[in-house]
Amino acid sequence: MVLDIRNVQVSLGATQIVHDVELSVAAGELVMLLGPNGAGKSTLLKAVSGDAPARGEILVSGQALTDWCPQALSRHRGVMPQRVDINFPLTAEEVVRLGLSAKSPGRADELVEHLLSELEISHLRHRLVPGLSGGEQQRLQLARVLAQIADTEGERLLLLDECTSALDPAHQQVVLQRVQRLAREQRVAVLAVVHDLNLAAQYADRLVMMRAGRCVLEGSAREVLTPEVLDAVYGFQARIVELPEGYPLVIPLGQTRAQTAPLKPVCRQAS
C-alpha cells in the first residue's frame, strides 16, 4: 500500500474531528473521500499531508510520516490544498517551477511546458498570479503539485483537497482525466476530497463516505451512491440513474430533512 491510515484520530483544540479512521490507498488507485460539510474529510487529508497533528499511524510506502526526511517525502507525496492565496507578483510559470527540485534546465523547461499545456494554462504562463481567476489558479496549483512528483522513482502519493471546486464543467473533466491517467498509467496513488457526487461516480476507483469524523461506508460508486446512503449521510432524497457508461448518476430531488437516520459507523471494504 502506498498510503496506510491506521486508527487515526485528529483533534483540533478540544474537539475531536476525526475518529478512528482506517483507510488505505494502493498504487494506481484513485480514491475519493465524500461526505457532508464538517464530516472531517479535509481534516483527515490534512493529517496525511502533515498539517494537522494526528494520533494513530499514517504510513507512506510503509514508513511513518514522521520518519520521512522532508525533502524525500516532498518528491513522493504531492499535496494540493483547498486554497492558495498569493499576494505577490509571481508569474504562473514561476509558481509551477517552485514545484521542481533540481532538474536539468532542459528537462525542467520541457516539464513546465508539458504540464501547462495539459492543464490548458499555457497562455497564462507569463501572467501574474494575483490577476488570474479562481479556476485558473486552481489548475496552476495542480500543475505545480504534479511537477513536484514528476520524475520520482518509486511509489508516489497525490493528495487533492477539492481540486475541482472552482472549475467550470469542461475543466473539471480535463483535470480529473489528467489525474485518472496519472493513476492508471503512472501508478500514482490518489486520495481526493470531492463534493461533486457525479464526478466521484465518474472517476473514482473507490469511494469512501465520511460522516461526523468517521468512515461509514467504502466501496464502488454503485455500492456507496444509493438513495438510502445519501439520505442517511447527507439527508437528501435522490434518484439514482444507471448510465450506459457504467456508472450511476445522482439526481437530487430537492426534499431535504435533518440527518437523523442511524448509520452504523463501520468502515466496510467492498468485496
Binding site: 498539517d51 522532508p70 518528491r75 499535496v79 490544498p81 492558495v84 505577490f88 510559470e93 514561476e94 507569463h126
Partner: protein, 345 residues
C-alpha cells in the same frame, strides 16, 4: 532584449543599471560634504599615493569612507530584513519599523545606554564593547517572535492583527523609551535623541567594527532563505509540502532579522521605511522571486540610504538632517501611495 516575456526588466541589465547607479552615488557621497573632495583627490588616496592635500586624505579615510560603508551596509541589511519579513508574513506591508522590530531593538539599546551603569552593569561587564549590538539583536529577535506569535494563527497571518500588534509593540516600546528618557542624565539624553531620529552623523570605523559582523552574518545567512521564502509566498503549509523544514526556516528568518535590524539600530538608530520601500520597488520591476528580490534589495537599499544620507548632508548645510527624518519624508508618502493603490486594486 531588456525585458522578459512577463514584461519585467531582465536581471543582467538591471544589475548593470543599479550597479552604475550605486557607484555614482558612492562617488557623490564620499566627495560631497562640508569639506568637498575632488574625484582626483579620491583617486589619489585610493591609489595609495601621497596626497597633495593631507586634509583631503584624512577626511576621505576617517570620515567619508566609514560613513559610506556603514550607510550602505545598514541600507542593504534593512532592505533585506524587510524582504524577509514580507515573505515570512506573506504580506508586502510588513516592515521592521511598522511591526515594531526596530522599536524593540531600540528599546534594548536605550536600556543599555541608560541603565548600563546601574541595573545592567552585569550585562556590560559580560559583553564589553558589544553590549549595545547584542542587546539590540536580542530586543529585535524577541519582537519578531512576539509579532509572529500574536499575528499567526494555524499557518495564516492575520494582516490586520499583525499591523495592530505593530502599533501596540511600538507603543509599549515607545513608553519604555520614554520612561528611560525620564531617568536619563543630560549626556545620555543626547545619545537618546540620536537613536530616535536615526543618524549616520557619528559613523566611524569603531561603529563599523561593532555593527558589521552582525550585519555581515545576516547577509551570509540570507541566501539560504531565498527558496523557502518563495514557498512561503504560497502559504505556510505549502512550505512543508515542498520539503522544507518550516520551523527551521522561520527560526533562521527571525535570527536574520534580529541580527540585521539589531545591528542597524545599534549603529545608526531608527531608520524606517527602507525595508518597506525597497523590496516593493524591486518586486515591481524584477518580479517576486526571492533569488532576485534579496540581492537586488540589498544593492538598492544600500544605494538609497547612501543617497539619502548625502542629501541629508547638503540640504541644510553646514548642518545636517538626521537620516531617519529624511527616510520618513521619502517613505511616508510612498507608504500612503502604496495603501491607496492596494485599495484601488
Amino acid at each position: 532584449m531588456m525585458l522578459t516575456p512577463a514584461g519585467r526588466l531582465d536581471a543582467k541589465p538591471a544589475l548593470l543599471i543599479l550597479g552604475s547607479g550605486a557607484l555614482a552615488v558612492a562617488l557623490v557621497s564620499v566627495s560631497s560634504g562640508a569639506y568637498p573632495l575632488s574625484v582626483a583627490d579620491i583617486l589619489q588616496v585610493i591609489a595609495g599615493k601621497e596626497a597633495t592635500d593631507p586634509v583631503a586624505s584624512m577626511v576621505f579615510l576617517e570620515v567619508r569612507m566609514p560613513r559610506f560603508l556603514l550607510g550602505f551596509l545598514v541600507g542593504a541589511v534593512l532592505a533585506i530584513c524587510g524582504a524577509v519579513l514580507q515573505g515570512l508574513f506573506r504580506n508586502p506591508l510588513a516592515d521592521p519599523g511598522l511591526i515594531g522590530v526596530s522599536a524593540g531593538a531600540s528599546l534594548a539599546a536605550i536600556a543599555v545606554i541608560v541603565l548600563g551603569n546601574t541595573w545592567l552593569g552585569g550585562w556590560l561587564a559580560l559583553t564589553g564593547d558589544w553590549a549595545l549590538p547584542i542587546a539590540a539583536f536580542i530586543g529585535g529577535s524577541l519582537t519578531v517572535l512576539l509579532a509572529w506569535r500574536i499575528a499567526n494563527r494555524s499557518g495564516q497571518t492575520a494582516v490586520a492583527t499583525l499591523l495592530l500588534a505593530g502599533i501596540a509593540i511600538n507603543a509599549v516600546a515607545g513608553a519604555g523609551t520614554g520612561l528611560l528618557t525620564f531617568y536619563a542624565s543630560d549626556e545620555e539624553l543626547r545619545s537618546l535623541t540620536f537613536w530616535t531620529m536615526g543618524s549616520l552623523g557619528h559613523a566611524g570605523w569603531d561603529d563599523l567594527v561593532l555593527g558589521a559582523p552582525f550585519m555581515v552574518l545576516a547577509l551570509v545567512l540570507v541566501p539560504w532563505l531565498a527558496r523557502p521564502l518563495d514557498a512561503f509566498l504560497l502559504g505556510e503549509s505549502v512550505v512543508g509540502h515542498l520539503g522544507y523544514r518550516t520551523d527551521t526556516v522561520k527560526k533562521v528568518a527571525i535570527v536574520v532579522v534580529g541580527l540585521g535590524v539589531g545591528a542597524a539600530v545599534a549603529v545608526s538608530g531608527l531608520i524606517g521605511f527602507v525595508g518597506l520601500v525597497v523590496p516593493h520597488l524591486v518586486r515591481q520591476v524584477l518580479g517576486a522571486s526571492h533569488r532576485i528580490v534579496l540581492p537586488f534589495s540589498a544593492l538598492l537599499g544600500g544605494t538609497l540610504l547612501v543617497a539619502a544620507d548625502s542629501l541629508a548632508r547638503v540640504v541644510v548645510a553646514p548642518a545636517e538632517l538626521p537620516i531617519g527624518l529624511m527616510m520618513a519624508l521619502i517613505g511616508g508618502p510612498f507608504f500612503l501611495a502604496l495603501l491607496v493603490r492596494t485599495r484601488v486594486m
